[in-house]
């Protein structure tokens, strides 16, 4: 173990946080309304508004790669069942903030939350 090994390791840790920061900066704005977008095999399959007071909805997405069951409850989105071998998407946490994603790689399914309509910053000025 030499000095430069440590420098390399620290540099690698910093590099790994670059996408995190870029995405955080891009999405860290206040939005008026939130939507959940579901992409199946790269194409937009469904776009639903997220509302805190909405009723719980459950629906199934099926493509030739497999089936996923998605639940939206109190503006939180979660995959509750899937027939993929690893079930990583089922174990993942529920998402609710813009920029967060749920991904099921074997079924090429991406669920992401987006915000629309930036809140006006000067709404208090006369």
């Amino acid at each position: 173990m030499k000095k430069w090994d440590l420098i390399i390791i620290i540099a690698l840790i910093i590099v790994s946080f670059i996408p995190e920061t870029v995405i955080f900066i891009n999405t860290h704005n206040k939005y008026k309304s939130f939507y959940v977008e579901i992409y199946s095999k790269g194409k937009l399959y469904k776009k639903l508004p997220l509302n805190k007071n909405a009723k719980k909805i459950t629906f199934t997405i099926h493509n030739e790669l497999g089936t996923n069951v998605i639940e939206i409850d109190k503006a939180k989105v979660k995959i509750i069942d899937a027939d993929c071998p690893d079930k990583i998407c089922v174990k993942a946490h529920a998402i609710s903030k813009p920029g967060e994603v749920l991904i099921c790689l074997p079924h090429k399914l991406v669920i992401k939350i987006i915000g629309e309509g930036k809140q006006e910053t000067d709404e208090l000025s006369y």
């Binding site: 030499k2 840790i13 590099v15």
Partner: protein, 176 residues
């Protein structure tokens, strides 16, 4: 070293990498993140990089990738591991050339492990056409640094033992 000797040594390396890959696929990974694994086959890559040349190492990697996907893998796993292995090979080459005496095996193999994950994530982002999958990167990097460290230590011991063998000392006179 004669051509036949070299061929035998390279094929030995490939078969060792395949055995390590098969053993690794039997070990369950306790991580929630896909793509995190031990990377035992990286030991062979590092050993080959430090004992043979660069082109030979690339050859070992490509043959290992094709054969391992034949033994137990799908087309998509071949795509992920190809991207990962090539990323990791080129970054190891780069660091080994740039660092020379300053960087030891541990630094080289750690960078290799982490860039294996970066390559996998790049390929996954291309497949699902979504950049947000790169949010998994910090978790993968942490596990990659851990496994890369131990891969480096193991390769160091392997190289030390290889140098004790008489017939191989002549072979590895250009080692780093």
């Amino acid at each position: 070293m004669t051509k036949t000797r070299k061929m035998i040594f390279l094929s030995l390396l490939v078969s060792q990498a395949l055995v390590l890959h098969l053993i690794e696929s039997m070990i369950p990974v306790p991580f929630i993140t896909p793509g995190a694994k031990l990377g035992l086959a990286n030991i062979v890559t590092v050993v080959s990089l430090y004992s043979f040349g660069e082109i030979e190492t690339l050859f070992v990697i490509i043959v290992r990738l094709i054969l391992s996907s034949m033994f137990g893998g799908s087309i998509s796993s071949l795509m992920y591991s190809t991207a990962g292995a090539l990323f990791s090979f080129f970054i190891m080459l780069f660091i080994k050339r740039l660092g020379r005496d300053k960087v030891s095996l541990i630094g080289v193999s750690t960078a290799g492990s982490v860039f294996y994950n970066i390559g996998q994530i790049t390929m996954a982002a291309l497949i699902v056409q979504n950049v947000n999958i790169s949010l998994y990167l910090p978790i993968l990097t942490m596990s990659g640094i851990g496994t890369g460290f131990f891969v480096g230590v193991t390769s160091k011991y392997v190289l030390n033992h290889l140098n004790k063998i008489n017939s191989t000392t002549k072979l590895f006179d250009s080692k780093g």
